[in-house]
C-alpha cells in the first residue's frame, strides 16, 4: 500500500525532517508513527497527502509513484485518502452534516446518496444526533469525531491521522483510537502519527519509531508489549 524508499525531506533553511527513510505498510495494516516532537512524523504524513514533496527518494502509494503526480493530480489523490488532523480542520460556519458531506460534494455524488452516506458516517462516530449543529457547539472530542467522519465518508482506502488525540483527555483518546482500529477491521489501511506512547502500546498495532527523521525502530503488532 505505502512504500517509502530512501526518502529524505529537507525544508528550506536546511532543516532535515526526514533522512533516508525506508519502510512499507501493507494494505489493511494499521501502523503508528511515533517519536519525539520534530522527529518527522507530520512530515511523513504530509508526503502521503502531497502536502509536501520529498527532497530525495520515492514514495509509492498503491503502486503509484507520487512524484509522478503533478499539481493538477493532487486533488484526485487526496480524494483517495482520508485525512484527520489534530486541529480537525472543520469549517466552523457549516453544520456537522455539511462538513462531513464535503468530500462527497467534491466527488460529485448526487444529494440523496450523499445524505445516506453522511448519516452512516455520523452514526459510526456516534454523532448522528448532532448533524444540524455547528461544530463550535460540540466538545473537542466530538469535533475530532466529526473530522473522522469526514475522513471516512468517501470510503478511502487509506486513512491517515496526525495526532488525532493530541487535544483529548485519555478516556476520549482511547475511544478515538478504538474507532480507527474498527476501520482497520473492515480493510482500511490506517496510519496514525502520535507521540502518546502509553496509548500506542495499548492498541497493540505496528509501531514505527522515528528520531530526528531516521527510522530507529519498527515493531510488529504482535511484538508490542
Amino acid at each position: 500500500m505505502i512504500r517509502f524508499d530512501q526518502v529524505s525531506k529537507r525544508y528550506e533553511g536546511g532543516h532535515e525532517a526526514l533522512s533516508q527513510l525506508s519502510f512499507e505498510v501493507a494494505t489493511g495494516e494499521m501502523a503508528f508513527i511515533t517519536g519525539h516532537s520534530g522527529a518527522g512524523k507530520s512530515t511523513l504524513l504530509k508526503l502521503l497527502g502531497l502536502i509536501e514533496r520529498p527532497s530525495h527518494g520515492v514514495v509509492t502509494l498503491d503502486g503509484q509513484n507520487l512524484a509522478k503526480i503533478g499539481r493538477a493530480g493532487i486533488p484526485k489523490l487526496r480524494r483517495r485518502l482520508g485525512m484527520v488532523f489534530q486541529d480537525h480542520r472543520l469549517l466552523m460556519d457549516r453544520t456537522v452534516f455539511a462538513n462531513v458531506e464535503l468530500p462527497l460534494v467534491i466527488g460529485g455524488m448526487a444529494p440523496h446518496e450523499r445524505g445516506k452516506r453522511v448519516r452512516a458516517a455520523l452514526e459510526k462516530v456516534g454523532l448522528l444526533a448532532y448533524e444540524r449543529q455547528l461544530p463550535a457547539t460540540l466538545s473537542a472530542g466530538e469535533q475530532q469525531r466529526v473530522g473522522i467522519a469526514r475522513a471516512i465518508v468517501a470510503k478511502p482506502t487509506l486513512l491517515i491521522a496526525d495526532e488525532p488525540t493530541g487535544n483529548l483527555d485519555p478516556t476520549l483518546a482511547v475511544e478515538i483510537m478504538g474507532l480507527f482500529a474498527e476501520f482497520q477491521n473492515v480493510g482500511t489501511t490506517v496510519v496514525i502519527a502520535s507521540h502518546d506512547l502509553p496509548l500506542i502500546k495499548r492498541m497493540k498495532k505496528r509501531v514505527v519509531v522515528l528520531d530526528h527523521g531516521r527510522l530507529v525502530a519498527d515493531v510488529a503488532a504482535q511484538e508490542v508489549l
Binding site: 499539481r71 487526496r78 485525512m83 468530500p103 460534494v105 466527488g107 460529485g108 470510503k155 473492515v186 480493510g187
Partner: protein, 328 residues
Amino acid sequence: MSTQPEFPMESPLLSDQSRGIRTKARPVASWREHHGWSAAASLRRLMSRPVGTLLTVAVMAIALALPLTFYLLLGNLQKMGDALGQNQTISVFMQPGQSVSSADMLAKKLRERSEVAGVKLKSPDQGMDELAKMQGFSGALHALDVNPLPFVLEVQPKADASADSIDHLVADMRGMSGVDQVQDGGTWRQRLEALLGVGERIVMILAGLLAVAVLLVVGNTVRVDIASRHEEIGVLMLVGASRAFVRRPYLYAGIWYGLFAGVLAVGFAVLVELALAEPVQRLGQVYAGKLQVDVLPLWLLGAVPVAAAVLGWLGARLVSAWQLRKAA
C-alpha cells in the same frame, strides 16, 4: 451503487470496488452536481450577510443605472428634436410695400424647388389679424394708421431634406429680390443634433467607465471574500477539492452580484422612466402636439442583467485566478 453496502463498516470485508466515489461513469451528472452545489452555496453565502450584499449590489446597480438613465434622457431629447423638426418652417419676410403679385411669384418660385414641401403666403392683413388675436396687442394696433406688416412666406422644407440643402435654400432665399429677412428655425435644431451626438458619445464613455467600476466592485468584494476564507480554502484543498471547485462558488457569487445589480438597475431606470413620462408628455404637447415618451427598449432591459452577470463573472474570475494561484 445500490448493491453496495451503505458504509464499509456494515460489511465485514470490503471489496475495493465499493470504495471511494466513482464519478467517471457519470461525469455530466457530477458536473451538474458541482455547479448546482456551488451556485446554491454562493447564494446562501450572500444571503447570510444581507447588508453587505445589498450594499455591493446597490453600488453596482447605481453604476449600471447611470448610463441607462442618460441613454433614456438622450433618447427623449432626440425624439423631441425629431418631433419639432417636422414642424420646422422658415419664415421669409418680404420688404415692406411689395405687391401681392410679386409675393405670389416668389411663393410659386419657391414651391418649384425640390427641397420645399409647401409654402404658405401670409398677407399683411392676415398678419394683423393674428396679432390682433394675441392679448394686449389689439389696442396698440388700432392706433396704427397703416398696416406696417410685410408679406410673409412660411416655407416648409421636406422632412427628408438634408441640413445642407436647407442651408442652401436659406442662403438662396436671402439673395432673392424683394426679400428682407429670412428666419431659419433649423439652426437651433442642428445645434441640438450636434449636442445629442456629443451626449451619445459621453454616454458610451460613461457606460464603459462604469462597466469597469462594476468589474472592480465585484473584483474587490470577491477578493475580500477569498482573503477571509483562506482557512476554508485550505480545508477544501485538503479534502481533495480541485482549484476549479474551490473557485466556482466565487464565480457564481460574481454572477449573482451582477444579476441582482442588473435587475435593480433596470428597476431604477424604469422608475426614472415613470418619473419622466408625465413632464415629457406635457412638453411634447406644448411643442409638437403629439409626442410619445421614449421608453427603454425591452431587449435592453433584458440585456442589462445578463451583461451585468457576465461582468460580475469576469470580475470574479480575474480576481480569483490571481488570488488562488498559490493555493494547492
